[in-house]
Amino acid sequence: MAFIEFRDVCKTYRMGEVEIKALDNINFEIEQGEFVVILGASGAGKTTILNLLGGMDTLTTGTIEVDGRNVSSANDKELTEYRRHDIGFVFQFYNLVQNLTAFENVELARQICRDPIDGDEVLKLVGLEKRRDNFPSQLSGGEQQRVAIARAVAKNPKLLLCDEPTGALDYVTGKQVLKVLQDMSVERKMTVVMITHNAALADMGQKIIKVRSGKIEDIIINEHPKNVEDIEY
């Protein structure tokens, strides 16, 4: 059995009289330690997948299993537990707490989970040990995103979910961030699921799931994922 399984997942939004199918019978699997890229245009449904996977939203029909746990049938409390211990989330807009320093933002996440990684270690991992006492407003976007990754990783999650992590970043800093994510996957054998609309980034992934209009368009197994340094976009 795979680490993550999506089986016949449907998600329907009701907007007054109209039903919109955000996801329509999605099926895929992800193995432990895989770096997966979910690729799709705006509104294709990739964020919905991420929301469901991250326990932030509930599906309409189908099942999702993560590490043997049925996420789709979990209640609010179980979902909170799931997010707390199993998921690390990296947002497009970093979502750092403005009133906390880089280190404190990491600590914020660490304090709620069972087996966290040391804060300073994580910051070192993302190369920001020198900025540990800076507030988000004193950091560049890339640095902020790296703090965000550190915050996600510090929880020592089973699964790292990244929502367009470079979406708000310039090329160079974007690459730095992607590098960090790749290192996490390679060095720490962490399962990483990254959402992007940028096809150029797809080569990074060991598995690329292409989504279009709520359906899986294609699942590509990339035997030789590219190093971030080698990717141009």
Partner: protein, 1180 residues
């Protein structure tokens, strides 16, 4: 088109819109409500006053008024109504307490009373009692009210002094629950009764009520009204100053007449008294003469007694000589007889008798025969006579026997005769019947039978004749016998006669024989002739002489004895006379003493009379002198500012309006802050849109107008609701509260337009201004910057971080909270001020209640520790009553003191003050004299201690001198050495020593203050104790007060509601803004796996801490507000405590906290509903 966006915005952000609306609503409601309370009070009372034609002016005069005064006033065309009235103050007893009652006229046309209950009086002894819808009445219908005065007769001014209450009346004249001072020893008036005007007997009016033309058109208490009344009063002054003089002249005339009368009366009185004295003197002198006479008589009597005594002595000497003569006589007789006197007396008498007998018997006899022969002869004679008697007696016996036999024969004969006569009658009867039969027989012709009958008749006739012969012979015999009987009887009688004569002779002879035998016994058988000689020889030759001298001697002795008796009785008489004389002497002495006493008294009386006369004279002279110095009749014109109830009420209404101007400031401030926070957030959210509009070329004004309209709409909507709500609720509640102190009419709700406009405008403008300032700040930036996300505010290290040990221990949410709190200053202030306002209002509300009820509990619990006062009949009863009380173990302290009401004069003012005089070391038992601020005890050792309120009102401090009156009205200065805590009334405490030093008057204690033990019933126990005039227990007063103050709870409810809504709006707003601003952060936290509780604490900790800061700041502010409010509702006689009880702080704290928790609970749902998806959205 542009403004459609505004309304869409309102719809979108309705929570914030409602927040602004609510804060404006509360603020405006509070403001207009409080501000219109005073006008409502004034207008309601104005209507009431107009309705009863309440006086605008009241006139008093030092001499009263008469009809001429009233007529003079009536000429003025300013006067709408005028009513000259009489009233008098009197006491009445209700249970233990003495009630000061004013008796007033029932049907005054000015100050008309309203009948609230019962009926109007119909008889002169019926009355209405003053009542009130809010605090009842002292007397109820059916009560009997007996009025009296303590030191004079009430009946001099009031013809009826006992009334039955038949109804309850109300009048604005006595609206206030506390009343003015009465005319009785400065005591406060308790109640009023209304009676018929004819019951007042005074010949002048006490006062004149005047209502002015046109005055009712002005609202009472307004400046216009006051100006108008002052103007009218000035006009009336002309009449008044003229009447003052007229009245004085009348008075002078009257007093002059009275003085003259008084003089006359005095002379008469003195004359009468002098006459009485004189007649007394005369009587005494008469009595004195009698005493002198009595004394002379006694002297005469005394000399009589002396001469009597001498006489007795002389007689006694005579008697003594007689006695010795008698003794000599006796001795002579003894010598003559040779026997003792007594024997001699018997012997002489005997001898004298014998001599006489001998003389008688012997005289005719031969003197030769001897005594014995004579005796024998006599014996023989007696014997012969005896023999004769025996013979006669025998004869008589024979004669008697003969007589008896004849008598018996006669009896037989008589019997026989009787039988024969009987037989003759029978025979005759037979003959007659035979003769009759013969007549019959003859007619029948029976001759034979007739013959037989005739034979028979003849036979019978023969028998009859024979019988008759027998009878006749018998009768002869009887006659012969009777003769014989008579003969015998005569013989017997003769014999008996003889016997008697014989016996008499025998007697005489036997006597003679006895004498003779006696003589023979004495003298022997002497010859008869020598008897006399013998006797004479025996007695010295002359028995007769001896006998005679003996007789003489005996007579002399009898005389002597009677002489002795006479002397004894004379002596007894003399002794009795002496005793009588002694008692007469004593009587005279008493009489003399009495006379002297009477004389002394008379002199004293004379002296007194002279003194009295002089005193009266002086007084009359003084009166004459006063008359010369008589001041002009002073008319006092009082308007309503001097009318007690109106004045009190107006002051209270003014205080109310002050509060109305101050409290809304708090709401003003909070509203501004709420508006600012809300609008800032709104503008922040709309930032990019503003940028777009700006870029599109809309003017700044146009853009700003969107938000200003937003704020204005909210404000106006809030105001529209607030004005009716506020103007209805607050005045109603406040009016209700004032009803505790005033008998107010039904409330007339006034909604003064200017207040409404002021309320709406002030808040609306404030909102607009705040909004404008907020928007202007944003519009200063250029559009391009606006369209970009706002640069996050740079986080800074806060001071807490420098305290590393603390900071390290804080959780991350606490750190965020700490940083947030310090970062957003306007929110901080809004919340802190809002919450502090809420807390302080609550503290204020509870503290007002505390303060008012504390006045009672501190005043009557801690300060005045005595609970009972005993008033004595006289200060002379002090020792006996005090001794009893001190022996009672229920009495913890019994402190004698003197108390009276005095005027106290200071530079600033003059006020009535209660003066207490007692021993300086005893005061602690009944009153805890202490300074309020530090509780330091005070002593009255060095001078007077006055109450704090008095010192404040008159500006007197320690070391100052104030002038007070003594109990007898002497004015002197005393030094104030202490100012004591005291919440009601004005007091001055002074020690007896100081008092006596200052006033040079002796203190006579006439009251005792008692501190009683738990549950002691002293009133019952001592009310009938001799010397106790009155005993009053006022521990019940405390309970009454407490009940009254319970009504204050409604104020607390209003304050809690106002404060609560304030807190709710503010905290709600804060939370709402916090959540909306940090919605992204919250979503992120949720994504990170924070559970609900952790998210709540992340947000609410801030709210909670801000509230807490607000509460802590609010607590002392509550105290400040209390000081402020209490300063405003300053009452003349009451000092409110500004101490706040811990419980009030605790309630303020807890209730605000409860509001905070309530908001937090309400807002949890909002937090739960934050979607995690929000975290994925881009930054705007």
């Amino acid at each position: 088109m542009f403004h459609r966006d505004t309304f869409r915005l309102i719809k979108k952000t309705r929570k914030r819109f409602i927040t602004i609306l609510l804060i404006v609503l509360i603020g405006v409601a509070f403001m207009v409500g409080l501000m219109s309370s005073a006008p409502t009070m004034r207008v309601s009372v104005d209507k009431y006053m107009d309705r009863s034609d309440f006086m605008d002016l009241q006139l008093y005069s030092s001499y009263g008024f008469d009809d001429r005064d009233v007529d003079a006033l009536k000429k003025s065309d300013l006067i709408a109504g005028i009513y000259p009235t009489k009233f008098t103050d009197a006491f009445t007893q209700q249970g233990e307490s003495q009630i000061v009652t004013r008796v007033q006229e029932l049907d005054s046309t000015v100050n008309r009373i309203e009948l609230a209950e019962g009926r109007m009086p119909r008889a002169e002894n019926e009355a209405l009692a003053l009542g009130s819808s809010s605090f009842g009445s002292v007397f109820s219908i059916g009560d009997t009210v007996s009025l009296y005065l303590e030191d004079s007769e009430l009946s001099e001014t009031l013809s009826v002094t006992e009334y039955e209450i038949v109804g309850i009346a109300r009048t604005p004249q006595y609206m206030a629950s506390s009343k003015e001072t009465s005319n009785l020893n400065n005591l406060t008036l308790d109640t009023v009764i209304f009676v018929d005007r004819d019951n007042f007997t005074a010949d002048y009016y006490t006062s004149i009520y005047i209502s002015l033309k046109g005055a009712a058109e002005y609202t009472a208490f307004s400046d216009d009204y006051k100006d108008y009344v002052t103007e009218c009063a000035d006009d009336l002054d002309k009449i008044i100053s003229k009447q003052e003089v007229v009245r004085k002249e009348e008075i002078i005339e009257e007093i002059t007449r009275q003085v003259a009368e008084g003089e006359k009366e005095l002379e008469e009185k003195i004359g009468r008294a002098q006459a009485e004295l004189d007649s007394g003197r005369q009587q005494l002198e008469d009595a004195y003469i009698q005493i002198l006479v009595g004394e002379a008589q006694i002297t005469a009597n005394e000399s009589q007694i002396t001469s009597g005594e001498q006489e007795i002595a002389a007689n006694e000497a005579l008697l003594a000589s007689a006695e010795s003569q008698i003794a000599a006589g006796k001795r002579q007789i003894t010598a003559q007889t040779g026997r003792s006197y007594e024997e001699a007396v018997t012997l002489v008498n005997l001898a004298y008798n014998i001599y006489n007998i001998a003389d008688a018997i012997v005289g005719n006899s031969s003197t030769d025969s001897t005594l014995q022969e004579m005796i024998d002869r006599k014996k023989a004679e007696i014997n012969t006579l005896g023999q004769e008697n025996l013979q006669l007696t025998g004869e008589n016996t024979t004669l008697e026997m003969e007589k008896a036999a004849v008598t018996a024969e006669n009896t037989v004969l008589t019997e026989t005769n009787n039988v024969l006569t009987q037989m003759n009658a029978t025979l005759q009867a037979e003959n007659d019947s035979l003769a009759a039969a013969n007549v019959q027989l003859e007619t029948e012709g029976k001759t034979e039978e007739i013959i037989a009958n005739n034979l028979k008749i003849a036979e019978n006739s023969l028998t009859i004749e024979a019988n008759k012969a027998t009878i006749a012979s018998n009768d002869i015999k009887i006659a012969a016998n009777n003769t014989k009987i008579a003969e015998n009887d005569a013989k017997i009688a003769a014999n008996n006669e003889k016997i008697v004569a014989n016996n008499t002779q025998i007697g005489t002879l036997t006597e003679e024989l006895g004498d003779l035998e006696m003589i023979i016994g004495m003298l022997g058988n002497v010859a008869l002739g020598s008897i006399k000689d013998s006797i004479n020889r025996m007695f010295g030759g002359d028995i007769k002489g001896v006998y005679a001298s003996l007789q003489q001697l005996q007579r002399a002795e009898a005389q002597l004895n009677s002489g002795r008796q006479q002397i004894a009785s004379a002596r007894a008489e003399l002794e009795a006379g002496k005793i009588r004389l002694a008692s007469a002497k004593t009587e005279l002495a008493t009489g003399r003493a009495e006379y002297e006493k009477g004389m002394a008294e008379l002199e004293k009386g004379q002296k007194q009379l002279d003194e009295e006369y002089e005193k009266a004279r002086i007084e009359l002279d003084k009166a004459k002198q006063q008359l010369d110095e008589l001041p002009d009749a002073q008319w006092i014109v009082l308007d309503r500012t001097s009318h007690f109830s109106s004045y009190m009420f107006e002051n209270n209404a003014d205080q109310m309006s002050k509060i109305g101007y101050v409290f809304p400031v708090l709401f003003f401030l909070v509203a501004a802050l709420v508006c600012m926070t809300t609008m800032k957030r709104l503008v922040d959210e709309e930032r990019s849109q503003i940028g777009v509009f700006s870029a599109l070329g809309f003017s700044k004004i146009k853009i700003a107008s969107k938000y200003i309209i937003y704020a204005l709409t909210a404000s106006l909507a809030g105001s529209v609701v607030a004005i009716p709500v506020g103007m209805a609720i607050f005045p109603t509640v406040i009016y209700f509260c004032w009803k505790l102190m005033y008998d107010l009419p039904d409330m007339v709700l006034t909604m003064p337009a200017h207040i409404a406009v002021l309320g709406v405008c002030s808040f609306t403008l404030l909102m607009a201004m705040v909004t404008f300032i907020v928007v202007r700040g944003v519009l200063k930036e250029n559009p391009s910057r606006l369209m970009r996300p706002k640069a996050p505010k740079t986080a800074k290290k806060i001071f807490l971080e420098h305290i590393t040990p603390l900071w390290k221990r804080m959780s991350f949410t606490s750190k965020v909270t700490a940083r947030n709190i310090i970062r957003y200053k306007s929110r901080f202030f809004m919340t802190v001020i809002g919450v502090a306002g809420c807390t302080s209002l609550l503290v204020l509300g509870f503290a007002i209640k505390d303060s008012v009820s504390q006045v009672v509990s501190i005043q009557y619990g801690d300060i005045i520790t005595y609970d009972t006062t005993v008033t004595l009949e006289s200060h002379e009863d002090m020792d006996s009553v005090l001794e009893k009380l001190k022996a009672d173990k229920d009495v913890l302290y019994a402190v004698p003191h003197m108390t009276y009401s005095s005027m106290a004069y200071t530079e600033a003012d003059e006020k009535a003050i209660n003066v207490y005089v007692m021993e300086e070391d005893e005061i602690a038992g009944i009153i805890d004299l202490r300074q309020r601020r530090n509780g330091q005890p005070l002593t009255i050792e060095d001078g007077a201690v006055i109450s704090e309120k008095f010192s404040k009102l008159c500006g007197v401090s320690v070391g100052d001198d104030i002038t007070i009156e003594s109990a007898n009205g002497i004015k002197k200065q005393v030094e104030v050495t202490g100012i004591c805590e005291m919440y009601t009334q004005h007091y001055l405490f002074i020690s007896r020593e100081n008092y006596e030093d200052i006033f040079n008057e002796t203190v006579r204690y006439d009251s005792i203050a008692l501190t009683s033990g738990e549950g002691a019933q002293l009133t019952e126990k001592y009310k009938d104790t001799p010397g106790v005039k009155n005993i009053v227990d006022f521990s019940g007063m405390k309970a009454t007060f407490s009940n009254m103050f319970d009504s204050l709870n409604i104020i607390i409810v209003v304050i809690i509601l106002a404060a609560g809504s304030l807190a709710l709006v503010v905290i709600m707003n804060l939370t709402e803004v916090n959540i909306s601003e940090r919605i992204r952060e919250i979503a992120t936290l949720k994504v990170l796996g924070f559970n609900n509780g952790e998210v709540y604490s992340y947000i609410f900790k801030e709210v909670f801490i801000l509230s807490l800061i607000g509460i802590i700041i609010g607590l002392p502010f509550g105290k400040l507000e209390l000081i402020f409010v209490m300063d405003i509702i300053d009452m003349e006689m009451v000092m409110f405590s500004t101490a706040v009880q811990p419980s009030s702080y605790i309630f303020g704290f807890l209730i605000t906290l409860a509001f905070t928790v309530l908001v937090i609970l309400l807002m949890r749902k909002t937090l739960r509903n934050v979607q995690m998806v929000e975290s994925l959205k881009s930054v705007e």
